[in-house]
């Protein structure tokens, strides 16, 4: 199929970017979206032009590196699907596709479609862990975990840290990412001792990084390729209120 692509080009963080149009022909419907961009880049290099920079790595939907806003939607039109798992059979000959980077104050553009998501790591540093230095652990069966809690914790822990939630949010909030980690660790018995300090620390780091506040629009969850539910945000708010009251 033949497509027109309009892609955000920006040479570095300081430069001003703009949308640039490209035409690509002979795209196989079996190709993935990123493979389609690979083909475009091969053509650009052949013509002596600068290829389009984009983040990607595992290309099987789990590393969380890929991060394209496609026709206004983070990760494109298919539900529960990362950009790398989106395939060209979702498109038809003659389509025009807009491709942009994540857009959020806390995720500055590095180049073209690549953004800086290190703010997520800083949120984790502020408490997104259980303090268990190597070698100090009791036997794995010492503390049973109810299956329902373990399953719910897993569902929250399935977050891949891609940042689609932030890109989808009109406020640029990192609430879903942060709440998923708070829920994962807070559902496990091992996570209880640090439950309150964790949520206070992470929320402070989140706000400091320039993420916006949560107004429950739900766009984050709708865009999440791992279908993390809004319930984790309710959980975080509850933990935060309790922790703040105690700290006061």
């Amino acid at each position: 199929m033949k497509l027109r692509l309009r892609i955000w080009r920006q040479s570095d963080a300081e430069s001003k970017g703009k949308m640039v149009s490209y035409v690509i022909d002979g795209v196989s419907e079996d190709a993935s979206f990123l493979e389609m961009l690979d083909v475009l880049n091969e053509e650009l290099i052949a013509d002596g032009e600068d290829p389009v920079a984009f983040d990607h790595d595992c290309r099987e939907g789990i590393c969380g590196a890929c991060s394209l806003v496609i026709d206004g939607q983070p990760h494109g039109p298919q539900a529960a699907t990362t950009t790398c798992q989106l395939h060209m059979r979702q498109y038809s000959d003659g389509d025009t596709i807009d491709i942009e980077p994540w857009r959020a104050g806390a995720f500055p553009v590095v180049k073209d479609l690549v953004v800086d998501r290190s703010a997520f790591d800083r949120i984790i540093q502020a408490g997104g862990y259980i303090s268990a230095p190597t070698g100090t652990a009791p036997d794995a069966h010492a503390v049973p975990v109810p299956k329902a809690d373990a399953d719910a914790a897993f569902s929250a822990a399935a977050c891949i840290g891609c940042g689609a939630c932030v890109a989808a949010c009109p406020n640029g909030s990192g609430m879903l990412f942060m709440a998923a980690k708070v829920a994962h660790l807070g559902l496990m018995p091992q996570g209880q001792p640090e439950r309150h300090t964790r949520v206070l620390g992470m929320v402070a780091a989140h706000d400091e990084a320039g993420f916006g506040g949560c107004t429950n629009t739900g766009e984050c969850s709708a865009a999440c390729p791992k279908e993390i539910g809004l319930d984790v945000i309710g959980r975080l708010n509850k933990d935060f209120r309790k922790a703040a009251a105690r700290a006061a």
Binding site: S28, D30, A31, S32, E35, V39, E42, L44, I45, G48, D50, P51, H56, D57, C58, R59, E60, I62, C63, G64, A65, T81, Q85, L86, H87, R89, K111, V114, D116, S118, F120, D121, Q125, A126, G128, Y129, I130, A132, T134, G135, T136, A137, P138, D139, A140, H141, V143, P144, V145, K147, A150, D151, A153, F154, A157, I160, G161, H184, L185, Q190
Partner: protein, 646 residues
């Protein structure tokens, strides 16, 4: 036929750190004989850890907890994205929670046997001992493993094991274990013991006064090339499966850190041992950029078949039972569809070579769930494999509930890697290697659910204990920027970058990488021959010469330049690919993942030659003619036998 024209013989090599004595006391002995570093002195010692996968993040976090000053590097934008994240199946541990006869000794035995008697008994026994501590550690970190209704951990049998010793977190075990290690790492970053450098790539090892003392790194955002000096360097930089271009590895996986160390003198061991995974989604066209693994657990319920007649291009549903060949069940009645990975892979290749393959290019076999759906019901199959079926449908556009999956083998894991002793130290003092980047524990073939175990064993428990024996002699003499060795390393890196950017070429890096991959897959893949390997070495040398003449890299040095990153990696893959072929050529036996067509039993199974090849091949870099050092392997506890899965 002599293979001597491709290499020269060197002095034998020995693992001088492995203690003698009963095998179950050796690890304890080594921890006692190894020297310690006083806690107050640890903060004066600096350790570089390259890589943030299971073996890197766990090592960096643990060294930080111990009080060393750690500098940790990764090329990804976050340590959480290292490719350990993609491991699906699970992690083995000899807990015997199922009371099904498992023990440390049985896991040790299975691993030595699974490695086709090409690994070290001491190392493997230590791995089996530590396996139980890993699970304890991960549970304490809050890893949400699958659990039973009583709240205890669930286990499953994996990869043909006769005991249920695999712990798992749905189909995302690697992700959950890596996030546990990542969170421990970030805790140390916050505590100030670990400095994290993301989007940085190691491009050279600095060896000063006979010791590994630092690395040269390129900041992938600004392009700045800088040096980092330390008392020891740990490489946890993963495997080299991307030499095949198409593999299940992430696109960024590369051999550069290991290869640069190799060029500085570190021996590369058993490079030809690669694992081909039988259940991957086949290639769909020339645009293909990677291959996706479908978890091996699918073989528990899926039946593998191809049409009985070649050239049968009917829809699978139109081919009656009597005209199908369930070839694994036919050839291996005892194990059927659950034969080990290498056997399943070669059998798939064999039927496709006969012209009975299905799908594009005839490179695929069916994995059929119709019987399982009849027997268990669609809901039960969906509960077990729903996410995998969904992934398959996204990629192929076909519904596996209605039409059998198409699968084909793909490169998945590399058992070879930098040579290390029992302390995980290479032959360059101060250079340690952990995880898939070293060669140590899997022999010629890795068992399912053992990669995660080894990565975490090395990083959490082995290295932090063994490295103190080396660091006890530190801090070492200060090395400044002007030192000859530092300036030389820096100069070499800058020169390479300049070369690529100024080369007046007309072919893209990827086009060369694809072509190299096709050569490797054809001649150094599932089945290798003397004739094919000689041909491959010639083809690689020619292609490498063409690469340096015609490669075209756009852009500048001082910017984010993904083409430049790739060019350096592919240049190193050329040299590695040649060494892999030489290693495969010299090892005229078949063992594990290395199958030489000339060395097979009457039934077409791999035939080892213990008399001549019971050794680790550790290669020293010496330009186009590498030097072979042999480390002899002793088997005191597990007597070598020929595998049989009939």
């Amino acid at each position: 036929m002599s293979t001597a024209e491709y290499y020269t013989g060197g002095e034998p090599i020995a693992d001088t750190k492995a203690p003698a004595g009963p095998i179950n006391e050796r690890w304890q002995t080594r921890r006692f004989t190894g020297r310690l570093v006083n806690p107050a002195n640890r903060r004066k010692l600096r350790v570089i850890v390259v890589g943030t996968g299971l073996a890197g993040a766990s090592a960096a976090a643990t060294l930080g907890e111990l009080g060393y000053r750690v500098a940790n590097y990764c090329f990804q934008d976050s340590p959480r994205r290292a490719h350990s994240i993609a491991a699906q199946g699970g992690i083995n541990a000899a807990k015997n929670y199922r009371n099904d006869g498992d023990s440390v000794h049985r896991l040790f035995y299975d691993t030595v046997k699974g490695g086709d008697f090409r690994s070290r008994e001491s190392n493997v026994h230590r791995l089996a001992e530590i396996s139980t501590e890993i699970i304890d550690q991960c549970v304490a970190q809050g890893v949400p493993f699958a659990r039973e209704y009583g709240g205890l951990l669930d286990n499953r049998s994996f990869g043909g094991a006769q005991v249920s010793r695999t712990f798992y977190a749905r189909g995302q075990t690697g992700q959950q274990l890596l996030l546990g290690a990542y969170q421990a790492l970030e805790r140390q970053v916050a505590a100030g013991t670990v400095e994290l450098h993301t989007r940085h790539e190691m491009l050279e090892l600095i060896v000063t006064g006979g010791r590994a003392r630092g690395i040269v790194v390129r900041d992938l955002v600004t392009g700045e090339v800088a040096t980092e000096i330390a008392d020891a360097v740990v490489l946890a930089t993963g495997g080299y499966g991307n030499v095949f271009f198409l593999s299940t590895n992430a696109k960024g996986c590369n051999v550069t850190a290991s290869w640069r160390a190799h060029r500085q003198g570190a021996y590369f061991a058993n490079p030809c041992y690669t694992q081909i995974h039988p259940t991957c989604i086949p290639q769909s066209g020339d645009h293909q950029s990677k291959l996706t693994l479908m978890s091996e657990s699918l073989r528990n319920d899926g039946r593998v078949w191809v049409p009985a007649e070649r050239g049968d291009d009917r829809e699978p549903g139109d081919i009656p039972e009597s005209e199908r060949d369930y070839y694994l069940e036919r050839r291996y009645p005892a194990f059927g569809n659950l034969v080990p990975r290498d056997i399943a892979s070669r059998a798939a290749k064999a039927v496709c070579d006969e012209g009975r393959g299905v799908g594009p290019g005839g490179l695929g076999v069916y994995l059929d769930f119709a019987d399982a759906i009849d027997r268990l019901g669609k809901d039960a199959v969906e509960a077990k494999y729903g996410n995998l079926f969904q992934m398959y449908e996204r990629i192929t556009g076909e519904n596996p509930y209605e039409r059998p999956m198409r699968i084909y083998p793909a490169v998945h894991y590399t058992m070879g890697g930098l040579w290390v002793d029992y302390d995980l130290q290479s032959n360059i003092p101060g250079l340690f290697v952990t995880g898939e980047a070293n060669f140590s524990d899997h022999g010629a073939n890795r068992l399912g659910a053992s990669a995660l175990m080894q990565g975490l064993s090395d990083g959490y428990f082995v290295l932090p204990n063994t490295i103190s024996d080396y660091l006890a002699d530190g801090p070492f003499e200060a090395v400044d920027e002007d030192h000859e060795s530092v300036a030389a390393a820096l100069g070499a890196v800058n020169e390479r970058i300049e070369f690529f950017l100024n080369n007046d070429g007309d072919r893209t890096v990827d086009s060369f990488h694809r072509e190299l991959g096709r050569i490797m897959w054809e001649y150094c893949g599932m089945e290798r021959t003397d004739e094919g390997l000689r041909k491959a070495i010639g083809l690689i040398r020619d292609l490498k010469a063409e690469f340096y003449k015609r490669v075209k890299v756009t852009g500048k040095a001082a910017e984010l330049n993904q083409q430049l990153e790739k060019a350096g990696r592919v240049a190193d893959f050329f040299e590695l690919g040649e060494l892999m072929c030489i290693d495969a050529l010299h090892r005229t036996e078949s063992c594990g993942g290395h199958f030489r067509a000339e060395s097979q039993t009457e039934d077409g199974e791999a035939k080892r030659d213990d008399e001549h090849f019971s050794y680790v091949a550790a290669w020293e870099f010496a330009g186009s003619e590498p030097v072979l050092h042999k480390e002899h392997l002793e088997f005191e506890y597990v007597k070598p036998t020929q595998r049989s899965y009939k």
